[in-house]
């Protein structure tokens, strides 16, 4: 269980402080305007924030996404361990791929292989559960879950059609 301390800052908003297992403290001040300040506390003096970074709404979301990405992939790895025979594979869409610019529905991947496309990583962002009308582009990384054979077959589809 991660320890998070929540304090009201009258006139400003809310402050959350997270203590890591190694004893470091990180804080987030949530301004009412939506602005977020990321705070790093002095390891020797828990009362003092030694650095703070002001983040706009978009920047805070981007950072949350980055911190969350790891967790999505970790969870997939966890799932793999738990369900015997289940494999996740990350398949890059290369420039020559027949599905570059085509939709997820066009691949009919699930019908043909039994494996599911559960997410696409695009420019560092995880797009979870893409819909059939999702259009692939070069540089996307497609996350596929299924049996060993199924995921290999999906990789084959993205390479050669």
């Amino acid at each position: 269980m991660v320890e998070v301390e929540r304090t009201a800052l009258p006139g400003i908003g809310l402050r959350h402080i997270l203590t890591t297992s190694r004893g470091r403290q990180i804080g987030v001040v949530s301004h009412r305007s939506g602005r977020r300040d990321l705070l790093i506390y002095d390891p020797d003096d828990p009362d003092t924030s030694v650095d703070d970074v002001a983040l706009t709404v978009d920047e805070a979301e981007a950072l949350a996404e980055l911190l969350g990405t790891r967790r999505v992939i970790e969870r997939l790895a966890e799932l793999e361990r738990q369900v015997e025979g289940l494999v996740t594979e990350q398949i890059p869409i290369t420039a020559g791929s027949p599905y570059d610019g085509r939709t997820l529905g066009d691949t009919r991947a699930r019908t043909r292989t039994g494996a599911s496309i559960v997410a696409v990583v695009r420019e560092g962002e995880v797009l979870a559960s893409p819909r059939p009308d999702f259009r692939f582009q070069t540089g996307d990384i497609v996350v596929v879950v299924g049996t060993k054979e199924g995921t290999s077959a999906v990789a084959q589809i993205f390479r050669n059609g």
């Binding site: 304090t7 006139g11 004893g23 390891p43 003096d45 828990p46 009362d47 924030s49 030694v50 650095d51």
Partner: protein
């Protein structure tokens, strides 16, 4: 490093230079400026009310009553004692106590942001003291208005009762029916919202004036009643207007103050400023200590609270326009001139010393275990120093 000094002293100095007995007296448009100054006071108090939600005020009352009381006693005392020593009449003494008591939440908010103190452990303590001062102002201003009007004790207590009732009512409405007020004022159009909010402030301020409970308190109550995203939008829309009219107000106060009256009160102002620094520092230090904050944080809490500004001038302004004690205006001007500059300055000068534990060289030996992974920190320090 940014200058980061509050503009209030500059406005006051500007007013002093161009006012009665100043370097270059201008007296052509005093009427216009005086109306602008009145609007400035209303907007200052309105945005102060906006600052805190009713919920925060009520919680503040429950949680920091002791700290707030300490703040009041320690910081009103120098003004009251000085007033007694100067042989002023009781109303002027009450005014001077108010002037020395109330911190400048505007200057302090800016100081906390500039010095990166917002995230520090002591900051909630500092902010809740400001919340308490806010509430104290809501009670103090009607009392002061009554005293300045020179009405009888009975009439005075009736007014005060009305004021307290109005405050309780507004808090209740804001807590329970805040959505109603918001629904009334809300508008997708910025212009309409601005006019509605401004209209509401002026209307309630006028009503409050009629009831003899100070138009400033009326504006303040409107600020409290508005909450949530609407308050945020109103704050953004009205801030430039507030800054403009508040500037007019400060200049007007300076204009009314004759610079030739400053030298005689300079020593008193200096003495009050020294006492004001010490008493606010003690307030912050004790309040932070009570909240379990360590030594550096206690120092910071004390220093953060030192600045006085807009509200000291608001209080003195009420007294000056009521014609109480001629020296009061110049004394308040000198006091705020000193402390509006000194507060942020002390913060800036002290900040480098308030980072590390008190004995940085021994810190390692004191806490050898608490640093299990020093490598990442070292790395980031290297990046910074190139």
């Amino acid at each position: 490093m940014r200058a980061g000094i509050s503009p209030i002293p500059l406005y006051l100095l500007g007013g002093l230079a161009f006012g009665h007995g100043g370097l270059l007296p201008l007296s052509t448009s005093e009427e216009f400026i005086s109306i602008g100054a009145e609007i400035g006071v209303l907007l200052l108090l309105f945005t102060l009310g906006l600052e805190y939600t009713a919920d925060e005020l009520v919680r503040g009352m429950r949680q920091s009553a002791v700290g707030g009381l300490l703040d009041l006693v320690l910081n009103a005392a120098p003004g009251i004692v000085a007033g007694l020593l100067l042989g002023w009449d009781p109303v002027a003494i009450v005014v001077l106590g108010g002037v020395t008591y109330v911190s400048s939440s505007g200057i302090i908010a800016k100081l906390l942001a500039d010095l990166g103190w917002v995230g520090n452990r002591e900051t909630p303590v500092v902010l809740s003291l400001l919340v308490m001062e806010d509430l104290a102002m809501a009670v103090y201003l009607p009392i002061l208005t009554t005293l300045l009007a020179g009405v009888s004790l009975l009439a005075g207590s009736v007014t005060l009762g009305v004021a307290l009732l109005a405050i309780a009512l507004v808090l209740l409405v804001a807590l329970r029916f805040g959505w109603l007020v918001s629904a009334f004022v809300k508008s997708p159009n910025d212009e309409v919202l601005l006019l509605k909010v401004l209209g509401l402030v002026l209307l309630v301020a006028g009503l409050a004036q009629e009831l003899q409970i100070s138009s400033a308190v009326g504006a303040f109550l409107v600020g409290i009643a508005l909450s949530g995203p609407l308050a945020e939008a109103a704050r953004e829309l009205l801030s430039p207007l507030r800054d403009l009219f508040a500037a007019v107000f400060f200049v007007f106060f300076g204009l009314q103050t004759d610079p030739s009256h400053l030298p005689p009160v300079a020593l008193v102002a200096l003495g009050l400023a020294v006492a004001g620094v010490l008493s606010k520092f003690a307030t912050g230090y004790i309040a932070a200590a009570r909240a379990g904050v360590g030594r550096n944080g206690r120092y910071r809490a004390g220093i953060a609270l030192i600045a006085r500004g807009e509200f000291s001038i608001v209080i003195a302004g009420l007294a000056v326009s009521a014609g109480v004690e001629p020296a009061l205006g110049s004394l308040a001007a000198a006091y705020v001139l000193i402390l509006a500059i000194l507060g942020p300055l002390i913060g800036r000068l002290a900040e480098p010393f308030l980072h590390r534990p008190t004995h940085p060289h021994h810190a390692g030996s004191e806490t050898p275990v608490s640093e299990p992974g020093p490598e990442p920190e070292r790395e980031s320090q290297l990046n910074v120093s190139h």
